[in-house]
């Protein structure tokens, strides 16, 4: 059975954070949430960063909720209920009468658009369709957000911790990890923090996947990607073809944060109908 993930609102306060850690979720996503929160904390510290984090330019409306939405983009599976007007999660005994009445009273739509808690079996869509649409999203990458959507390109967003804005690249243009790494280095070199990119990458034509892994693991920065299941993986673990087939977005993380990222495992623990 496909069970939607449910999480409490990841706020900036300690109270919210502890509710994230105690909520009843799978280990993969728990790791993701912890990472996400940490990233959030770090990023707040840099001047000018938080305003521009939202790609669509909602920078004038900066407030914690919007910021969380930006962070949420990295984990599009996770939907968080900000208003708390309606909170019905599987396995919890909800106070449903109050829940229904509350929604009407609080007029949810007045608030800044917020993520919603995933309610079991709502909206009423059959599992086959849900599973199929999830695969569709990954096949198109971010193609629906402006690019042609044809079979010829596979645009994914690339973010780098500490960088003021995101970039978009076409994965189909590259043929192996070496080319990708080179291109990213060029693209983000102006935002390099410390020794993020190694000098040795230049001119390394026949870079094997394992070499790249060693290189990245050894350095301060780590290249990661979100796969079609919504999990964050280390780039370089799987064959190139498999990687571009499942990569939805890329993120250059600080090496210290990448601890705990799961290597690709056969059993991802997801249940499907």
């Amino acid at each position: 059975m496909s069970v939607p993930l449910e999480h409490d609102y990841i706020g900036l306060s300690d109270a919210s954070r502890s509710s994230v850690e105690s909520s009843n979720i799978s280990s993969d996503s728990e790791t993701n949430n912890v990472l996400n929160l940490k990233a959030t904390e770090l990023s707040l510290g840099l001047p000018g960063f938080s305003k521009n984090f939202e790609e669509n330019g909602c920078c004038t409306k900066f407030e914690p909720k919007n910021f969380m939405l930006g962070a949420k983009r990295g984990f599009s599976d996770v939907n968080l209920d900000v208003n708390g007007g309606f909170e019905k999660v599987q396995g919890l005994k909800g106070d449903l009468v109050d829940g229904v009445v509350k929604v009407g009273e609080e007029k949810k739509k007045d608030a800044v658009p917020s993520a919603k808690a995933q309610v079991v079996g709502w909206p009423p869509i059959r599992s086959f369709r849900k599973n199929t649409m999830a695969t569709n999203v990954s096949k198109n990458g971010d193609a629906r957000e402006g690019s042609s959507g044809s079979g010829g390109c596979l645009y994914v967003k690339v973010s780098m911790d500490g960088a003021p804005y995101l970039r978009k690249i076409d994965l189909k243009v590259y043929h192996n990890y070496a080319e990708l790494s080179k291109a990213l280095e060029k693209m983000f070199s102006c935002f390099t923090l410390g020794q993020c990119t190694s000098n040795g990458v230049r001119g390394r034509e026949g870079l094997s996947e394992s070499n790249l892994k060693d290189l990245l693991h050894g350095s301060e920065c780590v290249l990661t990607y979100e796969d079609k299941d919504g999990d964050w993986m280390l780039v370089g673990d799987v064959p190139w073809e498999m990687f571009i087939d499942s990569c939805k977005r890329l993120r250059i993380m600080k090496g210290s944060e990448a601890i705990g990222l799961a290597p690709r495992s056969v059993d991802k623990g997801k249940n499907r109908n």
Partner: protein
Amino acid sequence: MDPNKKRVDSLFPDEVLERVLSLITTHKDRSSISLVSKSWYNAERWSRRHVFIGNCYSVSPQIVAKRFPNIRSVTIKGKPRFSDFNLVPDDWGADVFPWLSVFATVYPFLEELRLKRMVVSDESLEFLATKFVGFRNLSLMSCDGFSTDGLKAVATHCKNLTELDIQENGIEDLGGHWLSCFPESLTSLEILNFASLNSEVSFDALEKLVSRCKSLRVLKVNRNISLDQLQKLLLHAPQLMELGTGTFMQELVSGPLTELKNAFSNCKNLLTLSGLWDATPLYLPVIYPACARLTFLNLSYATLRSVELANLLAHCKSLRRLWLLDTVGDKGLEAVGSCCPLLEELRVFPADPFDEEMNLGVTEVGFISVSRGCPKLHYTLYFCRQMTNSAVVAVAQNCPDFTHFRLCIMTPGQPDYITKEPMDEGFGAIVKTCTKIQRLAVSGLLTDRTFEYIGKYAKNLETLSVAFAGSSDLGMEYVLGCPKLRKLEIRDCPFGNAALLSGLMKYESMRSLWMSACNVTMNGCRVLAKQRPMLNVEVIKDEESDDSQAHKVYVYRTVAGPRRDAPPFVLTL
């Protein structure tokens, strides 16, 4: 026998009566016929060939077998509909095997089995394939419990198979080898649908199968079949009436697109087109030659934008039924309104139901455009993120012939987004204006007033789905007044025991009632069960909920008594 009746009957020998009755096919008519007199009852039971069982627990296989000795075709529905949305635990029941084992004895010449929301094991499929020599038609929709091994058995043993229709089942996919199990001698296939299976079948085996089955009229392949492969299949089967394509995109085109276009053009009988996975503006035009004849186009797996859809629909003058993804947006629906005047059914599914940031989808604007251009619309399923009362009122006025109106405003309890009022007046307009309304699904913020309207005006309503709505017990009490109500499914509403018990006299005239996450208690259910012995009042226990609350209640009429196969978490009161 009553002497008066005997006089009448002698004018009309049983054989003649049976002959006449064999022409009556719908089960409702037959049901009426059987009530006329004892001899008509007998004539009807002997001449019936198809039996429809809407709830597998409402009757036992033995009772069916006893009444109808000559059945060739059976349709059985099992789990409550909300099991499609994970509200019913696994192992709840609805196993088909007890039925099959009785049928093997009583109906050895069974030809057709159509199952919906039943549990079907591989053993059951093997049993079916081997015990019923003349078996021809198998349709499994939203079933679970089997794997592709079960399909292997069917393909191998059913020598006269004409239909294999596997739709949206919880199937364990162990590979596509099952398709290769059809023997070379099998040429009788007319319907083959494996669109919702994910594994790869041998294209060679499929191609050979398609080319030797000259009567094939429905072919729906899965996403793994490429465009090149599709082209070959179409060359072998230009007689197809219904086609479900595989993926509609490929990186390297081996031949010019004109060949593919011609292949579609040659399918002169094509009325239904579906599949179209990953369809893009590059390849979609190949179907244009076939569009003028199409009556049903299912684009609900193709993430099309408004322009692509508009270009496509310009060729689809004859469309009666259209299924879409909400990626087409309101502009796409505008195109629907202008291009498809004969449209009778529109379903719009959400591409991203859980992530509203990605794609706004369709709104009240699109809904109104369609209703303006398509006055014959009578069936809609519409998922949206915003709606207004005035829009729904307008839709009702533009399309007064609605029989099926299923509107899903995706945020639970959301009001009219402009006036902030409940959606009562919108749904009220639907039931007031559309007097033929038969099936209704409501959503958004709704007070008891909506249900007051429904109870008062929806004289033909048979099926009602309610979620996150209502203010008090009165809501449910109102709708129980609908004279033709047969199925009522409710979740997350503030209806309690008073509401449940107000239907005491009603439930025996209905097929079933489902209530989950409402305010019903075990005591309330016990009262109902005690007063109505012809009902099964079942409570599905939830580990988390406390013992006095009845978290999930399923009530249905039955002549078979309490279930004997109920799992420990289902309590029959």
